[in-house]
């Protein structure tokens, strides 16, 4: 099991979508350790939790396979390839000499990241902020983020969601 999750972790370019496709192919279709329904449940239950959904799906399914040892081992195996790559890249980057071409390369990456981040924001906004109210929360958060700590904005928005639910319930029970 460790081996499979390691391989999935190494190949999961593109985050959640790639992870789910790989799990579907390797664990459901090829080995039959899990059913598609398991993946669907994993996605549904981890969606509301904070954190990278891809990792949490691996943890969830790992638990289904071998309970807590399975959950932790699968997660560790899945994360190891990318953590190793990032650490190596960080070390390599820190060791780069400060020459014109390295500065130019960094600037190039900065420009690319702007484009990728803009696209990511667009996709996320389309899928997560579908209603007018949520869109308003999104825009308000952008503005607030320039003045106030990001953590505070996230908690405040979440609390707003809770408050609205509370008031809707009160209305219904009159």
């Amino acid at each position: 099991m460790l081996g499979i999750f390691f391989v999935i972790g190494a190949a999961a370019f593109g985050g959640l979508g790639a992870t789910v496709r790989l799990i579907q192919r390797e664990l459901v279709e090829k080995r039959g350790w899990l059913k598609s329904a398991d993946i669907g449940e994993a996605m549904a239950y981890t969606k509301v939790l904070p954190g990278s959904t891809g990792v949490q799906i691996v943890t969830f399914l790992g638990w289904r396979l071998l309970r807590w040892p399975g959950a932790l081992a699968a997660t560790a195996a899945y994360l190891f390839p990318s953590l190793a790559m990032m650490t190596a890249a960080a070390a390599g980057f820190a060791a780069l000499p400060d020459t014109a071409w390295t500065r130019g390369a960094v600037d190039g990456v900065l420009v690319a990241v702007i484009g990728l981040l803009a696209m990511a924001i667009w996709r996320l906004a389309r899928s997560e902020a579908g209603t007018p109210l949520l869109t308003a929360v999104l825009v308000a958060a952008t503005v607030a983020g320039f003045f106030v700590n990001a953590a505070f904005v996230v908690v405040a928005a979440g609390s707003l969601g809770l408050a609205l639910r509370f008031f809707r319930l009160r209305e219904r029970h009159g």
Partner: protein, 179 residues
């Protein structure tokens, strides 16, 4: 190091909307408040996170390395994934009970929308230095966004951008966004 672990624990616990949406929080907690990295270095970390497989929050390893080398990278990674992993395992274990926590879903939906809005702040922090020195470069960013939308691999885009940037710098004989 303790501070490193604590800050990334907080990031993991508040990462509603996914790892990508937590980037502004990471930037706030590890760049602006502590000065462990510059905005440029942070942007490179984000680029590398997009280029590597797996979750974006492996960015923690990048930041952790700056603070404390290999140990820092390991500690930060452990901290950032601790809360999400614990919660996911618990969800699997307590399936029935988690099914009926509507208030968590409401909190999460609004928190996620806010987190995505905050990404706009991070975007601006990346755009500012580029705007200040060569606004035309934003056209390059637009090209990248367009290519990404068309399905071109982010890895390819980042490598190409780095190569073009390096080439342009060599041609102009000094860093063209000179500091």
């Amino acid at each position: 190091m303790v501070e490193l672990a604590l800050r990334f624990l907080i990031v993991g616990a508040l990462a509603f909307g996914g790892g990508g949406a937590a980037l502004p929080l990471v930037e706030r907690l590890t760049v602006e408040e502590t000065g462990w990295l510059t905005h440029d270095q942070f942007a490179v970390g984000v680029g590398l996170s997009y280029a590597t497989p797996g979750p974006i929050l492996v960015l923690a390893a990048f930041v952790g390395h700056y603070v404390g080398g290999l140990a820092g990278a390991a500690l930060a990674s452990l901290a950032v994934f601790a809360v999400p992993v614990a919660l996911a395992g618990l969800a699997a274990q307590l399936l029935e009970r988690f099914r009926n926590i509507p208030w968590l879903a409401d909190f999460a939906r609004f928190a996620a929308a806010a987190a995505i809005g905050l990404l706009g702040v991070t975007l601006v922090s990346f755009v500012r230095p580029v705007l200040a020195l060569e606004p035309l470069l934003l056209l390059g960013a637009a090209v990248v966004a367009f290519a990404d939308a068309r399905g071109v691999s982010p890895v390819l885009l980042i490598v190409a951008a780095a190569a073009i940037g390096a080439g342009a710098a060599v041609v102009s004989a000094e860093g063209f966004l000179s500091r």
